[in-house]
Structure formats: C-alpha cells, structure tokens
C-alpha cells in the first residue's frame, strides 16, 4: 500500500511538471513564419525525469527529516564517528600520501600536457583562488557578497592601466592590485557592513554592477567598452619567455598562489580573527555581546576577500593580455559563489575541489557546457536543501591542553 501511494505521488508530481513545462519545453513558435513546432519527445523526457526525480526527492526529503529528528534524539553520538572522508582529511597517514600524489601531479602537469591544458588549468586555478578568497567573506564570516567580481575587476584594471600607461612591471603591480582591491573593499564596506545579511547581499550585487558600468562609461581611465589590450605577461628576472613558457610560468605562479592562499586561510581560520568571523556568522548579537568589534571584524573579512580577488585579477589580466568590462559581470560572482556553496562554506579542501570540478567539467565535457549555468543553479538549491555544510564539511580544529588528557583518562 505504502508503495502504491508512494508511486502515486510520484506520478502526480510527474504530471504536474509535464503541465508546468508544457508551454516552454514542448511548444516553440516562430512568429515570423507563423509556424509551431510541437516537441512531444520533450514531454516524454520531462515525464520520465520528473517521475524519477520526484521519487529520489521524496526519499531524500524523508532521509533529511529523519536525520534532523535523529540528531535531536541522540544528541551527539551520531556526529562523533568521523566518516572516512573526514578521517582522510584529519589522519596524516591517510592524507599525506594523497596530498603528495596531488602535488606531484600538479607539478608535473605542464610537462606532460599541451599548452592548451595548461591554460585551462591556469583559469581553473584562478577560480580556485577566487573561491578561497570569497570563502573568507562568505564561508567564514557569513557575509554574502554578490559583487565579488568588482574586486576581481579592480585588480585586473589596476594592472592593465599601470602596465599599459605607466609601464609598471607585473611583480610591482601584483601586490598593488591586491591592495587596491582591499582598499576598495574597505571603502565600499565601511558604510554597508552594518546592514543585515540579505540587504548586504543585494547592495554588494549593486556594487558589482556599478563597477561594470563604470568600466564601460569612464573612457578616460578604463578605455570603456573597447577594453585594454597588450597587457604584459609576467616576466621573470628579465627572462624572455615565449607564450608557452609564459603560460607554464603563470601556471606555477597560480599553484604558488593557491598554496599561499590555503596557507593564509588556514592560519586565519584557527586564530583569534578567524574564530571571531565564525562567531559573527553564527550569531551577530551574541558575538558583539562577547566583546567582538563587529565593524572591524567584518571589514577585515571583506577587505581580505577583496584582496585575493584583486591579486588574481592582476594575474588574470596578465594571462589574457586583453580585458574588457564584459568579463566582469554578475555571472562570474554567481559562479564563484556556487563553488563556495558546493564546497562547503568555510571548508578549504571543499572549495578547492568544487572550484576545480565546476570549472574543468564543462571544459572536458563539452556537451555539458550549455547546461553549465543550469547545473550551477540547481547545485546551489540542492546543496542548501540537503547538504548546507557542503560536500566536504568543515572539520573544526581541536585544541590540546594538559588538562584535557586528564579529563579523558577520568572519563575513559
């Protein structure tokens, strides 16, 4: 009986979605020639897809509900057992060889692949750093920033302008780009950080869009829609590099950036500052009542995230050698955000993996390309529903203390 009613509700869902998608999926009119195309096959696919998905959905929702009630009942026991995934990240015996393998592969990559692969990976790594940077703002401090692309653009334009107009070197501009990003972050952040979370999100979305319009309209400085071309690639002690060597060089530079970012984020996470960010994310009022200076702490997170965006903005400009305002639209912010969401807000490993997968998958599965944004959207919804902590949940550091040992002995 239960099975029948289960199937029945799936069937109803399927019919409902067939109804919903009918005018858009099945009908296609050409008003110029006055013809209609009826795509009945789509209807079939929707029906089958909706039926299966709704079965999975129901199962997942039940599991989710069970999970919630279980947690209440058993309090902590179920959470105590670390899954293999967590062990993998915690146990040096397990993660060291794996890490070694990944590092070795990463280092070898440019020597065994073509330049095209290296270029793809450079951009993927740029996204990794963007994801890690946004992770500081969104994941750690809980400030939903929908205009992250603005800072990326600030970095890119800083380098483009300083390089093409004033002939400044890449290596000088790299820190300048990061600092300009951070500075703009502070300037924009200052008035808005007392806003509530969702308002903040919308205002940052506004800033992101305004930045793009400014690049477009302020011709004297940003060269408008024409963009800025002939931006220099990074040099290395005056060495002449052809494009392939320069790409390989940028690849290694990005690897260093990734490691550097992970290092910094990791250190921040387990520090006075990082804990304050997380506390702010968890409960703003309790956090300030415990003596944390909200404005300062938020500004720090916002500026640091912006710093990273500015930094990789410089590298982005040096890699493409041409930038125009079209590269810095909202979609980029949305993509980076979905990486942070998928990876698990606050989790470093998760964000790295999510950024790589979300970027490289469409690259290697070209068929997937068209569905990329559709999948990104769906991923954001599904993650919020079923795994808000992300694919790789954030494992909290435990601190050792002489007394802890005693306590454990007494208990155990």
């Amino acid at each position: 009986m239960a099975m029948i009613s289960y199937l029945k509700s799936c069937l109803i869902a399927a019919i409902w979605f067939v109804f919903l998608t009918f005018p858009l999926m099945v009908v296609k009119v050409n008003t110029l020639k006055n013809t209609v195309e009826w795509r009945w096959m789509n209807m079939l696919w929707v029906a089958i897809g909706a039926f299966i998905l709704s079965a999975v959905w129901r199962w997942a929702m039940e599991r989710r509900a069970r999970g919630a009630s279980q947690k209440e009942q058993e309090s902590s026991d179920s959470d105590k057992k670390p899954s293999l995934g967590e062990r993998l990240l915690e146990d040096p015996k397990l993660y060291r060889p794996l890490l070694g393998l990944v590092v070795a592969l990463a280092l070898l990559m440019p020597w065994v692949s073509e330049m095209y692969q290296v270029t793809i990976w450079v951009f993927a790594l740029i996204y990794v750093v963007l994801g890690l940077g946004l992770n500081i703002t969104v994941g750690l401090a809980g400030l939903l920033d929908l205009g992250y692309v603005a800072f990326f653009g600030v970095g890119a334009y800083t380098y483009a302008i300083l390089n093409t107009r004033f002939g400044l070197d890449f290596w000088i501009c790299l820190p300048i780009g990061g600092l300009t990003g951070a500075l703009v972050g502070v300037l924009l952040g200052f008035p808005i950080l007392r806003l509530r979370g969702d308002y903040l999100a919308i205002v940052t979305l506004g800033f992101g869009s305004i930045a793009k319009i400014v690049y477009e309209n302020w011709e004297g400085v940003f060269n408008g829609a024409r963009g800025i071309e002939k931006i220099a690639r990074p040099g290395f002690f005056g060495m002449e590099m052809d494009i392939s060597a320069a790409t390989t060089f940028t690849y290694y530079l990005m690897l260093v950036m990734v490691v550097f970012t992970i290092f910094v984020t990791n250190r921040l996470k387990d520090s006075r500052i990082g804990r304050a960010w997380m506390a702010l994310r968890e409960d703003e009022i309790a956090c300030v009542a415990m003596g944390v200076d909200m404005a300062r702490t938020k500004l720090g997170a916002y500026a640091l995230g912006a710093f990273w965006a500015g930094l990789v903005g410089v590298i982005f400009a040096s890699q493409t050698t041409y930038i125009n305002p079209a590269s810095f639209d909202f979609m980029l912010s949305a993509i980076v955000l979905s990486m942070v969401v998928l990876g698990g807000m606050g989790s470093i490993v998760g964000v790295v993996i999510a950024a790589l997968v979300l970027n490289l998958l469409p690259e290697y599965l070209r068929a997937f390309e068209d569905y990329r944004m559709l999948v990104f959207g769906a991923v954001m919804v599904l993650m919020m529903l079923f795994r808000p902590q992300g694919l790789v949940s954030n494992v909290r550091k435990t601190y050792t203390h002489s007394k802890k040992v005693h306590a454990e002995e007494a208990n155990g």
């Binding site: 990240l89 794996l98 393998l101 095209y116 963009g227």
Partner: protein, 373 residues
C-alpha cells in the same frame, strides 16, 4: 561523504592526466576556425565554421591542395576574451597552419598576440574593429570584411548628403562595437561640417524601455538618428520612436542589418536604414556558395557566411600559390593577387584589410533589406 571526497580526488587526478591523443600524419593542412560555436552569440560564429568545413570537404573530395588533405579544426571561444586565449593556445598546440577567426573583436584582440608569437596568420570574417589592422600591431592579421570606421563614415555621409539631415542624434549601446560605430559617425559628421550632432548618448541594453531617450530625440529636434549597436536595442528604439510619433530616419550598422531585426521589429522595421557589407548575392561565386550550403544543410546560411567562405577561399588560394604553409609565403600570396571569392574579387593591402569589399546602405522595404544604389 567518503565517496564524494574520493571521487573528487579521482576526478582531479584523472583530469590532470588527460592528454588528448592527437597524433596526425603530417600530410594534412590544418586550418583552425575559431569563434562562438556555443552560447548566445553562436549564430555569428557557426556559419563561418560551416562554410570552412563545406569548402574543405569539396577540396578534399577533389584531391586536396598540393596533394594534401585539408583538416578543419573548429574551436569555440564564445566571444569571450579569456576563453579566446585558451582557444588560441589550443589551436596553436594542435599545430594548425592558419586560422580563420576570431569572430568578435574583443576575442580577436585577446587571441592575436598568441598567433603572432607562434607566427600564425589569422583571417577574421567579422572582426571590424579598426585598430586591429590600422595600429600595425598585428602584421599577421587579415580580414575579409571592411573595418567599422568605413561604416561609420558611410552612415554619416548618407545621413548628411542623401537624407540632408542637419541635426543628428547619435545613440549607442555602450558596447565595443556600438560605441565604436557611434564614435566614427560622430567624427565623420563633425569633420564634414554639414550637420550638427545634437545628441550623443549611451543607452542601457536590457533596460525596460527607451521612451525617455526617445523624448530626448524629439526635444533636440533631430532629423536623423544614427544608432550603434545590435538588433534587440535597435528594434526597441524603432518601436518606441514609432509609438511616440518621432518620425525621423533611423540608421543602424550591420549589427542591425539582419533577419533578427526584421523579425523583432516587425512592421516598425519598415523604412529603417542600415549599413552593411555590399550586397554580393548577385555574384556567381556567392550564388554557388549559398546554393551549396542550402543543398547541404537545407536552410539559408547565417551571418558572416559570405565572409567566412571568402576567408577560406583566400587561404586555399594562398596555399596553392605559395606552394606550402610557410607564413612568409602565405603573406606574400595573400597580398599579391586578387582572388575571386564569395564577397567579390579581393586582395589584402599592407595592413591586412581587404581591397574590394566595402559597405553599402540598405533600407527595409516590404520586410526586406534592399541595397540602395
């Protein structure tokens, strides 16, 4: 949990090892075709790809060029500069001998440096941005379409000389292409001294309506409107001008001259002027190309088909004449002699622009763009 982590690592490990096994025999000539093949702008890129492949097929069936088979390597850049660099590097690493592309000016700018360093010639069917040839930065660049400044000049002279406009309003969509066209028109009008630019303003693509700016046109008493941009904004402007009874001639660039505009603007399109590449449909070479296309794909070819086809023709000819794919030889051949192509008899000048192509003014008459002679 466990699975997802493991899987992710496996995916990363696998991805990093992927080395597409492309080992071709050396007796093919590889021609890269780069442009938007997916995404919003795909309609501008696919016709060129189809043209190149179709022509390659015909040549191969007839024994190839210099006894070698032609292999077309299509590469998608979605018209985005950052993807164009990857696409260009991929073409270079696949060892193409020459490239047709890219389609959008921005993507072309990003990619050209890479071809230049690898000593590869690129012929674009559609990148009309003037500095690409005029700056002299890219000696390896050619195009089978005339640059935008010609188009802007033509629009300006048409408005002042043919239409006798004295007060001209110039609008643009703030984009690279549209703003460029608007700038050139403005410069030409001011240089000509026959008319005044009474309004020069950007409009926001995707804005809900343009009625405010239409009212502004009326207030300035403009007797002609020149618009730089693409067909969605143009049709919106034309529609609202008609609704607001602002009855002045409307002149757009080749981004307006297409079926998209006719379709969306509908009845409002009637009487609108647009500049565009000269009508070559009467040429035998053009007719044949189009007929072949219709026979093969069963539909009319799209935008830049003619130019893409012509680019392929000049390349094949240059290879034949120079007897190989050496860049210096190709260059000489491309600049050397006229070739009969789908856009007429052309050869390239020292800067890389085609001699023999140009723009004309068209007008929508009875739902079709008709060339004004």
């Amino acid at each position: 949990m466990r699975k997802s982590v493991m899987k992710s690592f496996v995916v990363i490990a696998l991805l990093s090892m992927i080395v597409p096994a492309v080992g071709f025999a050396a007796d093919t000539i590889k021609i890269g075709v780069a442009g938007p093949h997916t995404g919003d702008l795909a309609p501008y890129g696919l016709p060129t790809k189809d043209a190149a492949m179709m022509l390659a097929e015909q040549v191969n069936a007839a024994g190839g060029v210099l006894g070698k088979q032609i292999e077309v390597v299509p590469m998608d850049d979605q018209c985005k500069p950052e993807i164009a660099t990857s696409a260009a590097t991929k073409l270079v690493s696949e060892g193409v001998d020459i490239v047709i592309g890219h389609v959008c000016s921005g993507a072309t700018k990003a990619a050209l440096g890479i071809y230049k360093e690898s000593n590869i010639i690129a012929i674009s069917p559609s990148a009309t941005n003037p500095p690409l040839t005029q700056s002299g930065d890219y000696p390896n660049f050619y195009r089978t379409i005339a640059p935008d400044d010609d188009q802007g000049k033509l629009a300006a002279s048409f408005a002042t000389d043919k239409l006798g406009a004295k007060k001209i309003a110039i609008l643009h969509d703030k984009g690279d292409y549209g703003k460029g066209f608007a700038d050139f028109s403005q410069a030409a009008i001011e240089a000509g001294g026959k008319a005044k630019v009474v309004l020069f303003e950007g409009v926001t693509p995707g804005a809900m309506d343009y009625s405010a700016v239409v009212q502004k046109i009326r207030r300035e008493g403009a007797d002609a409107v020149i618009f730089g941009g693409y067909h969605p904004e143009a049709s919106k402007l034309v529609g609202q001008m008609k609704k607001k009874r602002v009855n002045v001639p409307f002149i757009g660039p080749d981004g307006v001259k297409g079926d998209g505009f006719l379709e969306i603007a509908g009845d409002d399109a009637e009487g609108v002027y647009a500049t565009g590449p000269m009508d070559v449909s009467a040429l035998a070479g053009n007719k044949k190309a189009k007929d072949d296309y219709v026979a093969k794909f069963g539909k009319e070819p799209g935008t830049f088909f003619d130019q893409g086809y012509a680019a392929m023709q000049t390349i094949l000819n240059a290879i034949k004449e120079s007897g190989g794919t050496d860049s210096a030889g190709l260059e000489k051949a491309l600049r050397g002699s006229y070739v009969d192509t789908a856009v007429g008899k052309i050869k390239f000048d020292a800067k890389g622009d085609a001699e023999g192509v140009g723009f004309s003014v068209f007008q929508v008459q009875d739902g079709k763009f008709v060339e004004l002679k």
